[in-house]
């Protein structure tokens, strides 16, 4: 452990040269902080602590949680498998209309999720551009299925991963790629053994962002996949459903979602930051 004295020194000396922080910055910062923290405090204060154990033991809650974790993790996997190559193309390859492609990638980011859900229906719905072929050729119907949930989550989470990985690839030194080539490595080998390992911290943070986004996904999911218990009703959808009937249940589900997401993020962060430093 570092001595406590040294820890305190750093921020002090940082503003020691320029004086105390101005109230014009401190005041809005405090407002922002309370805006972020107050809802969480509200959630904790209204939680049905006395009935918590028995409510948590409800198999419906666990099933919903399991579905949420399963779909969010699968969606993150899809993002990694599809988004990393897309990010590489944007960062390293000479592709025509690169700026246009990058703008396309950003669309789900600015699109309201509900609109995203409608758009997914027009593409993969039973009457959709692709959906009708999937149905008639393979008998595959995506809307209102668990696979549909994963598709909706992948759709909204993909931009986060692509942006993070592309950023990491841009900041990674491309001279390593050149060097690998002189040693006889093909571009694919170079990607696997040099480019990807060097961009790993960016890939990891992109995956965390994508996972968090997928776990919290609501609008696109409810529009494209509906809210069927056991198959498409993920935690956010369950919270929304419970709000209309049992407010305490809604708070409980919210708490579970909060604990799980924050817990996983903290765990992964710890693991990755130490992994990267080593």
């Amino acid at each position: 452990m570092s001595p406590p004295g040294r820890r305190r020194l750093r921020p002090r000396s940082a503003h020691g040269a320029t004086g105390a922080p101005p109230w014009q910055l401190v005041l809005p910062a405090l407002v922002a902080l309370s805006l972020l923290v107050l809802p969480v405090i509200g959630l904790l204060s209204r939680a049905p602590w006395s009935t918590l154990p028995e409510r948590l033991a409800d198999p419906a809650v666990l099933d919903t949680l399991r579905l949420s974790l399963l779909t969010a993790t699968t969606a993150t996997g899809c993002c990694l498998l599809l988004g990393t190559p897309l990010a590489w193309l944007l960062a390293r390859a000479d592709i025509p209309g690169r700026r246009f492609v990058r703008a396309l990638v950003l669309v789900p980011l600015v699109l309201p999720p509900v609109v995203g859900g409608v758009a997914l229906l027009t593409a993969f719905g039973r009457q959709g551009v692709v959906g009708q072929w999937l149905d008639s050729l393979f008998g595959v119907r995506l809307p209102f299925t668990t696979v549909g949930v994963v598709l909706a989550q992948t759709f909204v989470a993909l931009p986060f991963l692509v942006l993070a990985v592309e950023g990491a690839l841009h900041s990674a030194d491309s001279r390593y790629d050149d060097l690998a080539a002189t040693f006889g490595a093909s571009r694919w080998q170079t990607f696997l053994r040099v480019t990807l390992p060097l961009a790993l911290p960016g890939v990891a943070s992109g995956a965390v962002l994508a996972w968090a986004r997928a776990l919290g996904e609501f609008g696109a999911t409810i529009t494209f996949a509906g809210s069927y218990p056991g198959t498409t009703r993920t935690m956010p959808l369950a919270v929304y459903t419970a709000l209309n009937s049992d407010f305490d249940a809604a708070i409980l589900l919210s708490l579970v979602l909060l604990v799980v997401s924050v817990g996983v993020l903290v765990l992964l962060r710890e693991r990755w930051t130490t992994g990267v430093a080593a």
Partner: protein, 361 residues
């Protein structure tokens, strides 16, 4: 000039390529087992030459032929990609893959020449043993000193068993002790390498010590080629003269008098042997004596100058003089004290005619 035995494993290259501000236009040739040093100031086009040889940047014209194979020739449309050139590149800042252990760094080349993981590691271990780095095998690049990293980078290139080894400023940016060790290391392992070696450096000492043949570049073009001894004896540009630590003057010779080019009023340099026409003359800084007053005795060449800088140079002090004829003079530390030499002091410099060498420009 050496004869080019490119069919017998040698290199025959004529490089024309774009680079910032000017064009590279340079011939580089070497026999198998030979070390060619490309010598020149910063931004002379040296690193571009290496990138082009490695296939990382295209030629605009010319050719690269290595070991009987045409690697690149824009006129016939041949361009072998970097991946298939069998070169071993040692980049200027070592550029060790940060995520690989020393063993896996060195195994990188063999691994991509089709050896299995186990076999490539075995070959890497043999090379690490040969270069005396075996005890570093499990280290990560972040755990190596600058000199160690450079030796690992060189071993990594050698382990690829390249037909052409390319070294970019292998001795730059290291502390003095590491440079001495690494120079010995390079001398030993470059001699054993049976392919071609192209070494890029701005340091004439490295070039003289390590190379069989020099190509002196300035602003993309070749100023001079030859053996280290020949280039050092008769430099053909002020820059190389400065690099090898000689005073050089260009002018028009008539008998034993050389009239310095573009000097008005005239400056004359008296030489030992007669010469006619355009000529260079050179003399070593050790041949220059400094005096507080104009010397009355025999020296034929006497000029006035102002001290502009003093730097230690071996046991002596190298004095830079500004004046109508800028000069370098090596004097003893005692003389510096005696003459009260410091920047701004005016002195007289003298050189005996017998110390001045003259040769055709």
């Amino acid at each position: 000039m050496t004869t080019t035995g490119f069919t017998d494993g040698g290199l025959d290259a004529y490089l024309q390529a774009e680079q910032g501000g000017f064009a590279l236009d340079s011939a580089i040739q070497a026999d198998r087992g030979q070390v060619v040093a490309v010598l020149g100031p910063n931004a002379a086009g040296k690193s571009t030459a290496l990138r082009v040889l490695a296939g990382l940047q295209p030629l605009t014209d010319g050719w690269v032929r290595l070991a009987g194979r045409t690697l690149e020739d824009p006129q016939t449309g041949v361009r072998v990609p970097a991946q298939h050139r069998r070169t071993g590149l040692v980049p200027q800042d070592s550029l060790l893959f940060p995520h690989l252990s020393v063993l896996d760094q060195v195994a990188f080349g063999p691994r991509h020449q089709g050896l299995t993981r186990a076999l490539s590691r075995a070959r890497a271990a043999v090379w690490l043993d040969r270069t005396g780095l075996d005890r570093l095998a499990s280290r990560r690049p972040a755990e190596l000193s600058g000199g160690q990293a450079r030796r690992v980078a060189i071993t990594r290139a050698l382990a690829a068993e390249p037909q052409m080894l390319l070294l970019d400023e292998p001795l730059a940016a290291l502390d003095v002790r590491a440079v001495v060790e690494l120079r010995t290391f390079l001398h030993h392992h470059l001699r054993d390498h049976d392919g071609v070696t192209v070494l890029v450096t701005h340091d004439p000492v490295d070039a003289m010590v390590l190379a069989d043949h020099l190509v002196v570049l300035d602003r993309g073009t070749v100023v001079q080629t030859g053996t280290p001894a020949a280039v050092a004896r008769q430099p053909r540009s002020a820059h190389i003269a400065a690099l090898v630590g000689l005073n050089m003057v260009r002018g028009r010779a008539s008998g034993t008098t050389l009239h310095v080019a573009d000097a008005e009023p005239a400056i004359r340099v008296i030489t030992a042997s007669p010469h006619e026409g355009e000529a260079f003359c050179t003399f070593a800084p050790t041949a220059v004596s400094l005096h507080p007053q104009r010397p009355v005795a025999s020296p034929r060449n006497v000029w006035r100058g102002t001290v502009s800088g003093l730097t230690p140079h071996g046991d002596a002090v190298r004095v830079a003089l500004d004046g109508r004829l800028p000069l370098l003079a090596d004097v003893t530390p005692a003389a510096v004290a005696e003459l009260g030499l410091r920047p701004g002091v005016e002195v007289w410099a003298s050189v005996k005619a017998t110390e001045v060498h003259v040769y055709a420009a």
